[in-house]
Symmetry: C2
Subunit: 331 residues, 2 copies
């Protein structure tokens, strides 16, 4: 069994050495660029770790693992364009470095390249049998379409004021969790793991992903700017209907409620004041504790699913360790 560092190195090496077509350069240069910006490579790592619970030759599924990473970076590329974001991982976004049309077309090619990579094994005569590969491809399809659904709900929620907690959780499940859970499921499927195991790994990833997103929401308000990497209060400024805002609106009463609604409906305001005031209301209704309790519950649910995976406990250490790190529980 390999440790995370070894798996990560094999992923990084595959990405670095990948031979894109030389021409047309205008199509492939932006793809190379965004994939070279780094990132934690969570999805390919999860896929390899799940596979490694059952089989040792993790190198044989690197094309599928990089397919997921390519797909994920494609979503970032098009999301950044739609959000008109200037920066990604400390560098210019593709539509800023090139232009909008390049971001559209290179993004499209990236999505196609992800599918191309996913079935590379079959055409290259690799060792996965066609049944296995097609089943895993079905899971990949479920993920790619679901992430689009999640993105659309996210857009829809911007112009709605009645988003409930259930809707929000479903949106982040689709937009954030699904690709993590499918990464684990695909890894297990490619190793021909028992169906029950693939399902437990899927749910482990789902709960972990939800906890991860809620923690990201929490850090947007209560995080240390130096560690968080983004400006604090971004969600508050744009009235993003997060788990925290939705529940704060439920819990706030009297003056707090009136004040919160006033800030949500304010057209003009000083950003720092809005962040400070809304955070004060969050403190009054103890939304931080409430959100942390939810994260704890999801994390416990995730570990309970991992418990049920039918492999030796010693093999699960890497995945537990991964979940700890992802949620900032450095021991």
């Amino acid at each position: 069994m390999k440790n995370q560092q070894q798996l990560l190195e094999s992923i990084t090496s595959y990405i670095d050495k990948f031979q894109y077509p030389e021409q047309p350069e205008g199509l492939y240069a932006p793809i190379k660029y965004i994939l070279s910006l780094g990132g934690k490579r969570l999805r390919p790592l999860l896929m390899l770790m799940a596979y490694n619970l059952y089989k040792e030759d993790t190198e044989s599924i690197l094309p599928q693992a990089i397919a997921l990473e390519t797909y994920h970076n494609f979503t970032l590329l098009h999301d950044d364009l739609m959000d008109r974001a200037d920066m990604r991982r400390g560098n210019l976004t593709v539509h800023k470095k090139w232009n909008d049309n390049t971001a559209i077309l290179s993004g499209d090619a990236m999505l196609i390249l992800a599918y191309h990579l996913f079935v590379t094994n079959s055409t290259a005569g690799g060792n996965a049998n066609p049944h296995t590969l097609l089943r895993a491809l079905g899971t990949f399809n479920k993920a790619t379409l679901g992430v689009c659904d999640g993105q659309q709900y996210d857009v829809d929620f911007e112009s709605r004021n009645d988003v409930c907690e259930e809707e929000y959780m479903e949106m982040i499940r689709l937009k954030t969790s699904l690709l993590l859970s499918c990464a684990l499921k695909i890894g297990a499927q490619l190793a021909d793991a028992p169906d029950a195991d693939t399902q437990h790994l899927y749910t482990f990833g789902e709960k972990m992903g939800l906890a991860f997103q809620l923690q990201d929401d929490l850090l947007d308000v209560y995080g240390d700017p130096a560690v968080f990497g983004k400006k604090i209060g971004g969600d508050i400024l744009c009235n993003k209907k997060t788990f925290m805002l939705i529940n704060a609106l439920q819990k706030a009463e009297g003056d707090d409620k009136a004040e919160l609604l006033k800030w949500i409906n304010a057209k003009e305001f000083i950003p720092e004041e809005k962040i400070k005031s809304v955070t004060a209301i969050y403190n009054n209704v103890k939304i931080k504790d409430f959100c942390q309790a939810k994260i704890e519950q999801l994390f416990a649910d995730a570990l309970a699913e991992l418990e049920q995976v039918n492999v030796a406990e010693s093999k699960k250490t890497e995945l537990k360790d991964f979940a700890d790190k992802l949620l900032g529980r450095n021991k």
Copy 2:
């Protein structure tokens, strides 16, 4: 064996009855919309016709046929956005009817849906075996990535003045021909046709597609506006480096050459004057005859490939008829 009309009806019926997910509506409504605008359904038709040379149950590959049509319409959707085109098939384009972000995201979902449809058979337990399906998927991947390459070259050529005939032919091969030739090849592959046949059908489609695009270029200058469906002279106005312009620049001498270069470099001009003057030079250097001779040659090459397909001559009638109609040779 079914005739084109019967095959077209099965295609139209499948598209009309296709059940998209109900939600999120904002994602799927534009997809339904663009697929409902009609079009000649050339690609699914070619796929079914190729399959039908070998097997009768054409219904069994309708998901793959509609996958190609969905992919083709996805390229139109994103190309229209990149070109800022307002109209498509007499209706508003998706980014005009909705907005740019909708065109990006619904387009992405359409591309994913195409892949989803392509492997539907495998997950639904259809009759194609996994090897067959994966081989056909490899051909589909080749087409989807190649069309992106073609689109990028088309964009690149806009800012270049030294595009040669060979480069132009390769660009239109990728952008226009490839999906037609792959439609035929995929149809044959799904019917488990001999490799030699799939290759002849592929080349038949390639030559036919090239002839079709050259004819489209010709009609842009010499077509009847009422029949052509677009304004005459569009390529001339934007200096598009078509087969005709590239060769006219080679053939023109003296005053004709100077005049042609003057119009190409003119920043301000009256559109009708530029069209009239450039067309006059085209007439002087007999570019229409030259282009028609090239179309004839490609058409003859296409038919020669069809000749070599190892099925009864009577079965090839529909494909010959298709090629005749596509190139406006109504008998």
